[in-house]
Every structure is written in structure tokens, then in C-alpha cells.
């Protein structure tokens, strides 16, 4: 017996989503089990079934060095402040015209 993870996708914009796991004797039976356990009421049009041994998994320790990279973001605050100041200057000029 091996444990498999099941991913389902409906046709359309949605991505594949993890549905759950199952135990099966081999790949062919895993597909049958996936259909009979997870796809009985049109939960998806496509299915991925992956032997858990073949999943590569990483956690926080592996990912966290990537979390501290401010140069990959830009909040645009200085530009926004300039635009806001320009808008305010425009409207106060408009106010002076009245």
C-alpha cells in the first residue's frame, strides 16, 4: 500500500486544489479510488494523483530566507505622495478661481 495525494480542478479559471489523500495498492487503483472517493459529484473535471513519496516538500526553514528581500517589493509610497500633493494643489487652485 502507498499513500497518494489527490488534486482536483474544475474546467475554467480555477487552479488545481488539494482534495485529500488515499491509500492504494498501485497507481491504477489509486486513480480508481480517487474517482470513487473524491469525484462522485462533479467536484472536478481533471485530477492529479501523486504518490506521496514523489512529492517534494519544503517548509518554513527552507522558504524563510526568501521572505526577507525588500528589494523585491516596491510600495510606491513616494510617487503616490507626489501625485496626492499635485491633486491637492490643483484643487486648491480651482478653489481660488471661484
Amino acid at each position: 500500500m502507498a499513500t497518494y495525494e489527490v488534486f482536483l480542478k474544475k474546467d475554467g479559471k480555477d487552479e488545481y486544489r488539494h482534495a485529500g489523500a488515499l491509500d492504494a495498492a498501485n497507481d491504477e487503483l489509486a486513480l480508481v479510488m480517487a474517482r470513487e472517493t473524491y469525484i462522485r459529484r462533479a467536484e472536478g473535471n481533471r485530477v492529479w494523483v501523486v504518490n506521496r513519496e514523489h512529492l517534494l516538500m519544503a517548509g518554513d526553514d527552507f522558504i524563510s530566507p526568501n521572505a526577507d528581500k525588500p528589494h523585491r517589493h516596491h510600495d510606491g509610497a513616494a510617487v503616490a505622495a507626489r501625485r496626492k500633493a499635485a491633486r491637492e494643489a490643483d484643487s486648491s487652485e480651482a478653489g481660488n478661481d471661484e
Binding site: M1, A2, T3, H18, A19, G20, A21, L22, D23, A24, A25, N26, D27, L29, E36, T37, Y38, R40, R41, E43, M57, A58, G59, D60, D61
Partner: protein, 304 residues
């Protein structure tokens, strides 16, 4: 892999903040065991419920109903399977160990599966009253469940239980529009199942209930039980049936039904495997498990 918390206080602060625990997190042992036991009991109950449903496949009146009962049986056994997978991943018992404990009477399943379904009317009453009670409990867990894998699998289980409940009410409607004999049979079934269904919610939650504190349950037992009473008493009346509670009273001020004092002895007996039908249920489940061993051997043989 996974997150670690310094102590129980930090873990509980994480939960109170709406944190969701994942399978590879280093959760406190106490939490792991409490959640595991809760899921195992849910899995066992789905499995035992599926076997009850299966008993009625040959006896279900009419082909259309028979097909629905087949679908429902597959749903229940499937729910058991999904939940055993989630429970096994917690690393306390394997799926086989859980099933063997169930067959040996060493682990628990819900009170309602310790009673005998005498007639087809009982099956209808179970689908109407018990499935609704189970659904209400599951929805209350799903709402705020801090254990991610359980919460995600509950979503799917709940949608299928909704189908069972609608099926139950529709069958009751047919009986309510049927002959006097049908109505009498169904009233007898309601008399047998009203109290066990109500007791499924359990006695009032204790003030220090860990499942509430750790955001597994989102609602106290007595609150869920009362909601069920307020919904099902009027519904039974509207279909022309009698609620089998001698102290049943309606409070004009609060606009609420009160079923009177609840005797918790029957629930306690079922939790100790001493319900009216516990011995037969467990024996038949075990016989069935042993009789299908050949199929599991074939599957093992197919393993590559």
C-alpha cells in the same frame, strides 16, 4: 519542518488569533491527542453508519430509493476513509490499527449507532433526525476548526451530509402523505430515535472543555442541542407527528420549545459499548471486516 511554539500559552495565543495548525507543525501532544481522538471517533461513526445503511440496501422499498441508499452507503464509508487518512497522518495510530480497535470494541463511535433500526421507518427517522444532528455538529466544527486537514475534509463531508438530510426529509414527507399504517410505523420510529438523536449532541459542555478552548468545537453542546430542538420540534408537528417528550412545553415569552429533563444514562451506556444493539453492531462489523479480508489480500498482491 513545521512550526514550533515555545509553550502551551504561545500555542493557545496562536489558536485564539485564528491560527490554523498543519500536520507537520510541532503541536503540543495534548492537542494532538485530543484532536486525534475526536477525528477517530468521527471516522468510526461514519464507518458504523455506513454499515447500518448497507443493512438496508436489500430491504429498501423501490428502485429509486434503493439507488439513493447505495449512494449514501458509499458516501458514509468514503467519509470514514477520508477521516481515517487525516487521523492516521497525525502519527498516533495507523488506519489499520484504528479499524482493528473499532472491531475489538476498544474505541468509540457515536451513540446513535448503538441502536437497532427496526423498520424502514427507522431508517427514515435516522436520515431525518440523526443526520441533521450530525450535520449541525459538523458544521459547528467546520466553522472555526483550528486543525487544517480536518477542517478541509469536513467541507466535503458536510456537502454530502446535506444530500442525506434532504433525502431524509423528503422520505418523511412521502410517509406523512401516505397511509395510516405508514404514519403509525413512522411515529414508532420517531419515538425510538428522537432521544438518541438529541443525545448525540452530548451533555452540557464543561466550562474547561479543551475542544472549545482549542477551537475544534465552535459552539457549546447545549447551544447546538437547543438549536436542533427549536428546528425539529415544529417540523415534526408540521408533518403531523407527535414529539415523544412527555414534558414538552412551549414558552410564549421566549418563543422556545423545552423538551424537559434529559436522561443521560442511555448515552453513558453507549459510550461503554453497552447500548441495546452495541454487541451485534460490533460483531457484524468485525465479521464483515474478516469476510472481506480476501479483497484486501488481492489488493496487497496488486501492489508494485
Amino acid at each position: 519542518m513545521g512550526r514550533t511554539w515555545q509553550d502551551m500559552e504561545a500555542f493557545e495565543a496562536f489558536l485564539d488569533d485564528g491560527g490554523i495548525v498543519e500536520v507537520d507543525d510541532h503541536m503540543p501532544d495534548e492537542y494532538r491527542h485530543a484532536v486525534f481522538t475526536f477525528i477517530e471517533m468521527h471516522a468510526n461513526s461514519e464507518y458504523m453508519g455506513g454499515l447500518t445503511e448497507r443493512d438496508w440496501i436489500p430491504k429498501t422499498p423501490g428502485l429509486r430509493h434503493k439507488m439513493s441508499v447505495l449512494a449514501k452507503t458509499q458516501d458514509e464509508i468514503g467519509h470514514g476513509h477520508l477521516l481515517y487518512m487525516v487521523a492516521a497522518d497525525m502519527g498516533i495510530k495507523t488506519r489499520t490499527e484504528m479499524i482493528e480497535d473499532l472491531m475489538a470494541g476498544r474505541s468509540r463511535f457515536h451513540n446513535v449507532f448503538h441502536y437497532k433500526a427496526e423498520t424502514w421507518g427507522d431508517q427514515v427517522a435516522i436520515a431525518f433526525l440523526v443526520d441533521a444532528a450530525a450535520l449541525a455538529s459538523q458544521q459547528a466544527v467546520f466553522k472555526n476548526c483550528s486543525y487544517g486537514p480536518y477542517r478541509r475534509i469536513l467541507k466535503r463531508i458536510i456537502s454530502e451530509e446535506g444530500f442525506h438530510m434532504r433525502l431524509g426529509e423528503d422520505r418523511m414527507r412521502r410517509i406523512a402523505e401516505g397511509t395510516q399504517i405508514q404514519k403509525d410505523i413512522f411515529q414508532g420510529a420517531l419515538d425510538r430515535w428522537f432521544w438518541p438523536a438529541l443525545q448525540l449532541f452530548g451533555p452540557d459542555s464543561k466550562p474547561d472543555d479543551k475542544l472549545l478552548r482549542w477551537h475544534i468545537k465552535s459552539e457549546r453542546n447545549e447551544v447546538l442541542r437547543d438549536k436542533w430542538v427549536q428546528k425539529f420540534v415544529p417540523m415534526m408537528h408540521s408533518y403531523g407527528f407527535v414529539v415523544p417528550a412527555s414534558d414538552l412545553a412551549y414558552d410564549e415569552d421566549t418563543k422556545k420549545w423545552d423538551v424537559g429533563p434529559i436522561d443521560w444514562e442511555p448515552l453513558k451506556k453507549t459510550l461503554a459499548q453497552g447500548g441495546p444493539d452495541s454487541a451485534r453492531r460490533i460483531r457484524e462489523a468485525r465479521d464483515n471486516w474478516e469476510a472481506t479480508a480476501w479483497a484486501r489480500r488481492c489488493l496487497d498482491g496488486a501492489a508494485v
